[in-house]
């Protein structure tokens, strides 16, 4: 598959990059808002942040990074027409996503059990708002991974189909990248 035409080639299609940059701009605005409000109440935000478990956040980050690795391998397997390996790798990525979702649900549960909810204070308003919005993206991305796992069971060298598959992979990497920033802002910034 290596040829001159792959040099400087943009993965996926132009359309998915509009989607991805659009979404990242939206989240950037949210991150900016978060930092602004944090600047107005640093001690309050730091105290609230201490209520979160960095271990859970880190584990979730590992889950998503691993899932991205599987998805990258899956796309490569798709290129090579590996109709057994590719679906399995997408499913592996999906499994990591499921682990992320379950752990996030558990984290929410531990917070609710301590009486901390979306309305508790500004920090937790952002925490729940950001993570819920991100979770929505994880759910949509999981649907995409499932569709890719099913679609790659049959081999196809049609370039448009591959562009779509690669675009799906790019969307998942965006979901992962957004989480890394969310993790840093919500759990680590001091």
């Amino acid at each position: 598959m290596r040829s001159k035409s792959t040099l400087g080639r943009v993965p996926g299609e132009a359309g998915i990059w509009i989607l991805i940059f659009g979404e990242m701009s939206v989240f950037s605005a949210l991150f900016a808002a978060f930092l602004y409000y944090r600047g107005r109440d640093v001690s309050g935000f730091t105290a609230s942040q201490a209520q979160l478990s960095k271990a859970i956040g880190l584990l979730n980050t590992v889950f998503l990074l691993t899932s991205s690795l599987f998805v990258a391998l899956a796309v490569r397997a798709t290129v090579r027409m590996r109709t057994i390996a590719a679906p399995r790798l997408y499913i592996a990525g999906l499994t990591c996503a499921a682990a992320f979702i379950l752990l996030k649900a558990f984290e929410y549960y531990t917070l609710f059990a301590r009486g901390i909810t979306v309305g508790s204070n500004t920090y937790f308003g952002f925490y729940f708002g950001l993570t819920a919005l991100h979770l929505g993206h994880v759910l949509i991305g999981s649907g995409v991974l499932l569709a890719l796992a099913i679609a790659t069971r049959t081999p196809s060298s049609e370039p448009k189909r591959f562009a779509l598959i690669e675009s799906g992979g790019c969307f998942w990497h965006m979901v992962d990248a957004l989480w890394i920033i969310i993790f840093a802002l919500l759990y680590l910034v001091e």
Binding site: I18, G22, V26, A29, L30, G129, L133
Partner: protein, 241 residues
């Protein structure tokens, strides 16, 4: 390969124009006459809400009337979209039917809340809490029912990426598919407004209001453009045949 709907091209064009003009009238009525652009804050008290309505009560009520007349603009739009989808689908046009169903239900959430706002303004000298209740009911009905919208958009996305037609003259080029997908993802921000009374997640905030509205405007315009383009091409094909 595709169904022949060429006899309906004029009707489709008419319905699309009708939809665009109604949408413009609706936006003018809702945004300026009712004065809801930018939206009022969800943290206003009952008395503040009554004062807000009382300021230009006649203009508000007339705005409601105009908005109710023009508020069905998504109905003809959804029909034209479905017609364009149906001509591309092989066999039973399942995605077109799904889109039409969802478009129909979705359209109700545009004029339904306007009616409730009208009732709120109808007897403005009632107990303020009652007016606040109607005001909140209308706003949350307008902003939060995500419900059928992602399904509506999913149907369109399926046709964008599954069609057997060149993007150049199609009503559903691939870039519309991605724009629609972005719209679908962003629309999930709506229901969040039920949890916040201020800030970026409230009904006048970035996530439930500004983003979905801007994206909807862009998407509505873009899809209208590609449909007009497709209708022109289909008419040329029909007269050449």
């Amino acid at each position: 390969m595709s169904r022949d709907f060429s006899t309906t091209i004029r009707a489709q064009r008419f319905l699309l124009w009708l939809s665009l003009i109604s949408a413009a009238i609706f936006f003018f009525s809702w945004a300026w006459m009712m004065g809801f652009f930018p939206p009022p804050s969800p943290s206003l008290s009952a008395d503040q809400v009554v004062a807000l309505y009382s300021q230009h009560i006649i203009r508000f009520r007339v705005g409601v009337v105009l908005a109710l007349i023009s508020g069905a603009f998504m109905m003809p739009y959804s029909l034209v979209v479905s017609m364009q989808m149906a001509r591309l689908e092989k066999g039973a046009p399942i995605w077109a039917i799904l889109q039409l169903m969802c478009g129909l239900v979705n359209a109700m959430y545009i004029w339904g809340p306007v009616l409730v706002w009208g009732v709120a303004a109808f007897s403005i000298d009632r107990a303020p809490e009652l007016t606040l209740l109607l005001h909140e009911l209308a706003w949350l009905s307008y902003i939060t029912p995500l419900t059928v919208f992602p399904l509506n958009l999913l149907a369109i996305i399926m046709v964008c990426f599954g069609k057997d037609e060149e993007d150049r003259h199609s009503a559903f080029p691939r870039w519309i598919g991605y724009l629609t997908a972005w719209q679908a993802v962003q629309s999930f921000g709506g229901p969040i407004a039920l949890l916040f009374k201020s800030g970026i997640f409230s009904w006048n905030g970035l996530i439930p209001f500004w983003l979905p509205l801007s994206l909807f405007g862009v998407w509505f315009g873009a899809l209208s453009f590609t449909i007009f383009r497709a209708l022109r091409y289909q008419q040329q094909q029909a007269s050449a045949a």
